[in-house]
Symmetry: C2
Subunit: 419 residues, 2 copies
């Protein structure tokens, strides 16, 4: 096409970085557009691979990378501080940046997007949400003609692996989580995944591209999946549901309501049939209704596909960044009333159900059903109360009051029931 070949540098040669290099090496059709010139990694000597082009410079010095005046920086170092420094440095120089760094973007996207716009650079991050699912481009370009009012999804593959396997096998969370670590579906410290921080970061990015608003990270408090026990899948099944970690944002008149945590989802829903480490994201638009995007939410190659797609997109994109694409601060508002599932494990004695139901009634929450599966010991007796759609704040006060009662053998679990 007579265009200049763009030089590309890769920061980080871990799982995703090496897959990106591999795809760029194999895709001969891209060689007339892009050349991978540098691979930066702290311990680069141990990382060298024989399949990569001999012309690539392997280095542990970031200054050497920038001295080469690259056209594109691909940032896959997977931590926040240095990555932030390098991304800013690149954007200030007008260098296009592609990153999968959800943690960095979730807190700094507005600043970085402004910086990019100011210096006529592109900042792309398809790989930061949903692994290989083209959801960022799907919302921002594919659904540009719609007005998105909500997004709900399974954004964390680790949680989905754990919960869908617990549902399928009846195993305990500890057992499944340990197995997930062995299989590479969970980190050795899975806190960011199971406690929901990873999903919150991704939700903030989805809200950003959907609404051009930046939700305040600190105001989205995720609920951990750690409280979910094998018994909850049995009760959920009785109710025609299973349990998944959901992340949800919806535009309201006065801001955005959000939820990140485990929830009951109908067995007939697409969420229930989303198994293993797959991600599933549903967009809700004023005109187009619901669109589902489903695929591999993680993994080296799927995530690398997202990175390389961002790279190829640079060929077609002019530097057009509409003002609306910059994110304004967003405000979190309370969620509308929703049905809930409350599971208690108690040391049985008379009057417990009465105590719980009157605490709920005192806050104006209406009980839908109380039920109990047979076959459990009296000193560890599980039972479930479902409540009709109620204000979250009222339910919270009632559950706090119930929590002070002396009959609990385990901490009560409260899950919203998704409809």
């Amino acid at each position: 096409m007579g265009e200049r070949i763009r030089s590309v540098v890769l920061l980080g040669f871990g799982t995703v970085g090496s897959c990106v290099a591999r795809i760029l090496t194999e895709r001969s059709d891209l060689s007339e557009y892009f050349r991978l010139t540098h691979i930066f990694n702290r311990n680069f000597e141990g990382k060298r691979v024989d399949w990569a082009s001999k012309s690539i410079v392997w280095t542990g010095k970031i200054d050497a990378v920038f001295a080469s005046k690259p056209d594109v920086v691909i940032e896959l170092v997977g931590e926040v501080n240095s990555a932030g420094t390098w991304i800013r440095r690149a954007l200030l120089l007008g260098i296009d940046v592609i990153t999968a760094n959800k943690a960095l973007l979730a807190s700094k996207a507005p600043e970085l997007l402004c910086l990019a716009a100011k210096h006529n650079a592109q900042l792309s991050f398809e790989a930061a949400v949903g692994g290989g699912i083209p959801i960022i481009r799907g919302i921002r370009e594919g659904l540009a003609g719609d007005t998105i009012i909500g997004v709900v999804g399974i954004l964390n593959g680790t949680c989905n692996y754990v919960l869908s396997r617990m549902a399928a096998t009846g195993e305990s969370m500890d057992l499944v989580l340990n197995e997930a670590k062995k299989l590479g579906f969970a980190e050795s410290d899975p806190t960011a995944d199971v406690d929901g921080h990873d999903a919150v970061a991704k939700l903030v990015l989805l809200a950003g591209v959907s609404f051009n608003h930046h939700l305040p990270l600190a105001h989205i408090v995720p609920r951990s999946i750690r409280g979910v026990a094998d018994i909850d899948f049995k009760y959920a099944q009785e109710l025609g549901h299973t349990i998944r970690q959901l992340s949800w944002v919806q535009r309201q008149e006065d801001g955005f309501c959000t939820f990140v945590g485990p929830a009951l989802v109908p067995l007939t829903s697409a969420f229930a049939s989303n198994d293993g480490a797959n991600n599933l994201i549903t967009t809700i638009g004023t005109h187009g209704g619901r669109n589902n995007f489903q695929g591999a939410g993680a993994g080296g190659y799927p995530t690398a596909v997202a990175v390389v797609s961002d790279l190829i997109a640079l060929l077609g994109n002019s530097q057009h960044v509409p003002e609306e694409a910059l994110w304004n601060p967003g405000h979190i508002t309370p969620s509308p009333p929703r049905k809930h599932y409350l599971r208690f494990v108690v040391k049985d004695r008379p009057g417990i159900v009465a105590a719980i139901t009157s605490a709920l009634s005192a806050e104006g929450t209406n009980i839908n059903a109380v039920f109990q599966l047979p076959g459990y010991p009296k000193d560890q007796l599980p039972f479930v109360v479902t409540v009709e759609a109620c204000e979250e704040s009222a339910l919270k006060r009632a559950v706090e009051e119930i929590g002070t009662m002396d009959f609990h053998a385990k901490t009560p679990l409260v899950l919203p029931i998704w409809s």
Copy 2:
């Protein structure tokens, strides 16, 4: 942004066209980029609406439209001949074209894409496949970093409405199809939908964007869903399956294999849970694996979303059209062996099963199971034979041989079993 406002003309003010005009009227954020100047429709006088801008020129004269020197032509007239003429005329003038005309594109895309490239114009057709699902952009841009090897999907909302409702209610096809016409889910003449020609056209477009090859329309022979009876859902259910119209293309070493028609799909599959007029498209990539895209496959507003998204994409796209994006001729090759479901309705007498099974054996197809649900009359006795994975040509010969036998009360039905 200081850019010139682009003038847009709309050809065709039917269901989709009026929704496009409505979105462009409502989206004040787009008014700094685009202005709808002309609405062309043969009987334009009866079409005028009070919500459209007074500045829009309504006309039935195509020359008046072109005389205005538009920047973008949106073609939604819904027939092939004039649409082709007008699209060529626009592209020759370097005018960007957005169209939903799958029938035209399925036969003429290579010529029109070349014409667009030659005259530095864009030819966009997100709305031609999958209604509001951003599948064209999803494959071409979102998955640009992957190498697509196959696409399989539910591409026709009418067939899916009919088959999913037959599965749910046990009603006959005639009854459901009549109901679908009343509800607007089927045309008064549903031939193009139920006989698979609409799905073939969409498959050709998906293959085009996935592989940059143009499959020869005449060599993809669809199978009609008309032969599927209520009894088939009962037998399918016994086998853990239901029935959907599938469209499938897969890259092989020596070409592309395709299928368009009704097939048994597992009840646990995403296809089985795709109900009503929704579309579901699965892409299979070398690196990213499977991605599912699901949403409204038709309807005025969802399809209009795709059109408006194409329009907005013109802002970001430079005139870069890589050579690879032009479609080379593709060649159809036989499909690999697949399991099949064979349903017979016979006038019962001894020796029928023996005759059928020996005809199958003679062609080397192995029978997996023969089974029969109770409660049917002896002169209209349905039963099913499932055969193991076999060459389609051998099965075809066997079924032709069986078809000549004198015991049939109805034409046998042959469906592939999707795994």
